[in-house]
């Protein structure tokens, strides 16, 4: 499937952007030209030689802070997505097999979770339980899990009750074989789509929380935090918010693009799309022998 996604332009762009962000997160601290915490006298400087993105109000190099802060954002969003996947997908799949009570219970639970404003809850939980982005990510992941529940459940339902699975069972195929051959292929794409979307959402939430100054100690740089401090000095550096804002938006956009790309190449429509492209690519040369169109 990775190959199929990469065959689309949108897929390639999305993966490229996300790979860059991931690299920044991993290698950030080493790539940073300056110590992100080091203050200096050169405050609120514009982009110049030693400071590619200028400095903030305490003379700290913005670029280094951005690079260093990428870790928290990336890790946080991955945590949200991971928790949501675990908390949502497993009950989703099980709800098809574990009987009516379990099904009713998990369905109602999902309905209620959807009703809760997750940012509000995240703020509440973090503040009440003390610092730590991790707790907030746990809560947010749980609150966002209904998406995975629904996706996993829908995918499992279509597979479990589908004629070809029944046929396979009747002809003696083992459950493991069926899972590998049929269930996996059907369930993976929608979950991958949901995962991509949730990472994007997680990103926004982490940025929002760090913006409010929740969950991280002050000198530690975060993308949201950079935005927050820039807010106070707009008169002096009006273009200040540009870099962190652009990074946040680019990441979220890439996540959504990836989700769309995965959705486009999966399922019946996806195969038709890819076949169409292949057909067009082969058109040069022998004339088509496609069936007559229309009745």
């Amino acid at each position: 499937m990775v190959r199929r996604v990469l065959s689309l332009t949108s897929g390639r762009i999305a993966v490229a952007v996300l790979a860059v962000i991931a690299l920044l997160a991993i290698l950030g601290p080493w790539l940073a030209p300056h110590d992100p915490l080091a203050t200096s006298d050169d405050t609120l400087a514009a982009a110049c030689g030693p400071h590619w993105l200028g400095t903030d109000h305490l003379g700290r190099d913005v670029l280094s802070r951005l690079l260093d802060g990428s870790r928290i954002s990336v890790l946080g969003s991955l945590e949200v997505a991971g928790v949501a996947l675990a908390v949502g997908a497993i009950p989703g799949i099980l709800s098809v097999y574990l009987g009516r009570v379990f099904e009713w219970f998990t369905l109602r639970l999902t309905d209620t979770l959807v009703a809760l404003p997750f940012l509000l809850f995240a703020v509440a939980v973090i503040a009440l339980l003390g610092n730590g982005i991790t707790q907030a990510m746990l809560v947010t992941g749980t609150l966002v899990s209904p998406l995975f529940y629904r996706v996993a459940r829908a995918a499992t339902l279509t597979v479990a009750r589908s004629p070809y699975v029944e046929a396979a069972l009747i002809s003696g195929a083992s459950l493991g074989w069926i899972v590998r051959r049929h269930v996996w292929a059907k369930v993976l794409p929608p979950i991958a789509v949901a995962l991509a979307q949730t990472i994007g959402v997680g990103f926004v939430i982490v940025s929002s929380l760090t913006f409010l100054g929740i969950g991280v100690q002050p000198p530690e740089p975060t993308w949201g935090g950079l935005l927050a401090s820039d807010l106070g000095y707009l008169d002096y550096r009006p273009w200040g918010p540009l870099a962190p804002a652009a990074l946040i938006m680019a990441t979220v956009w890439a996540c959504n693009l990836l989700a769309d790309a995965i959705r486009d190449v999966s399922g019946e429509a996806g195969r038709a799309l890819l076949n169409g492209r292949k057909a067009r690519a082969h058109r040069l040369g022998t004339p088509d022998t496609a069936p007559t169109g229309g009745a």
């Binding site: 088509d288 496609a290 069936p291 007559t292 169109g293 229309g294 009745a295």
Partner: protein, 293 residues
């Protein structure tokens, strides 16, 4: 004599309503339809004339081009299809010269259609009666109350037993046969002169199928409607049509009066169709009856 031509004979004993001097209300001349997407010609030269009170049948299997031809006469070809050659004239006007607005005028009041799967051609969120009344209000300028009354009349005219009840129902509350009658009512509401029935009975039970065909025949008698009946089923065409076109892969392989085509088919494909009907028809398993002279 085959049972098909028996039916055709029955159809022919009607008094001919239109003499040869009446101008055709629909005339299709050597129409070719081209698909831009695959850059191929799908329909290669279809021609027929339709005069008031007469019925033309088009027979063919899926992919033969019969639906595309119908859509061309209605002006609703799918986006990448076009009429690449030939003319279609409705009531003397060449349809190639029509603007969108003129087409909207023409449809419903001069030419109309019913299709297979009637439930999908009505809006599922509106009551069916309201949809008929809508056509009346828009096309014939009736006020709301009068439109409702006229719609009820129409529902009665298509032999629905309880027009009041049906008027207020949604599509999912009605059976296939009832829906097809509703669709016919909506199609003839504005008094068109041409009605195209594209596989109108294909999705219905056999008994209902017979009733709908009878209904169409009745309407033809009472209003002088000109019909185009499209089907893959030769029996349907035999029951109702004066002349028949047999299409195969976009070409008209046979064209003539129904009786002639069924009794003495010239093209091997037509012969195949007739023979298969014979071999697989129900009569083969019934006790032999006295043959009519």
């Amino acid at each position: 004599m085959t049972t098909l031509s028996q039916e055709a004979a029955r159809a022919e004993t009607r008094p001919a309503d239109a003499g040869p001097a009446t101008p055709p209300v629909l005339s299709v001349r050597d129409v070719h339809i081209h698909d831009r997407a695959s850059d191929r010609e799908i329909v290669h030269g279809v021609s027929f004339d339709l005069t008031p009170g007469r019925t033309v049948g088009i027979v063919g299997e899926s992919g033969s081009g019969k639906t595309l031809t119908c859509r061309a006469t209605l002006g609703i070809l799918p986006p990448h299809f076009e009429v690449s050659a030939g003319t279609i004239e409705i009531d003397g006007t060449d349809t190639a010269t029509l603007t969108g607005r003129q087409w909207t005028e023409l449809r419903g009041s001069t030419i109309s259609a019913v299709f297979q799967d009637p439930s999908s051609y009505l809006n599922p969120s509106l009551r069916v009666g309201a949809q008929i009344a809508e056509v009346l209000r828009v096309k014939t300028g009736l006020k709301r109350r009068e439109a409702r009354l006229r719609a009820l009349e129409l529902l009665r005219a298509v032999h629905l037993r309880d027009p009041e009840l049906v008027y207020g129902q949604y599509t999912f509350e009605l059976s296939g046969g009832m829906l097809q009658r509703v669709l016919i009512a909506a199609a003839i509401a504005a008094g068109p002169r041409i009605l195209i029935a594209d596989e109108a009975t294909t999705a219905l039970d056999v008994t209902v199928q017979a009733e709908i065909l009878d209904l169409l025949a009745d309407l033809r008698e009472s209003t002088g409607l000109a019909l185009v009946v499209v089907s893959h089923d030769l029996a349907v065409v035999a029951q109702l049509c004066d002349e028949v076109l047999v299409m195969r892969q976009g070409e008209v392989v046979e064209h003539g009066p129904t009786r002639t085509v069924l009794d003495t088919p010239r093209h091997p494909y037509t012969r195949l169709l007739v023979d298969e009907h014979e071999s697989y028809g129900l009569d083969r398993f019934l006790a032999p009856k006295e043959e009519a002279a």
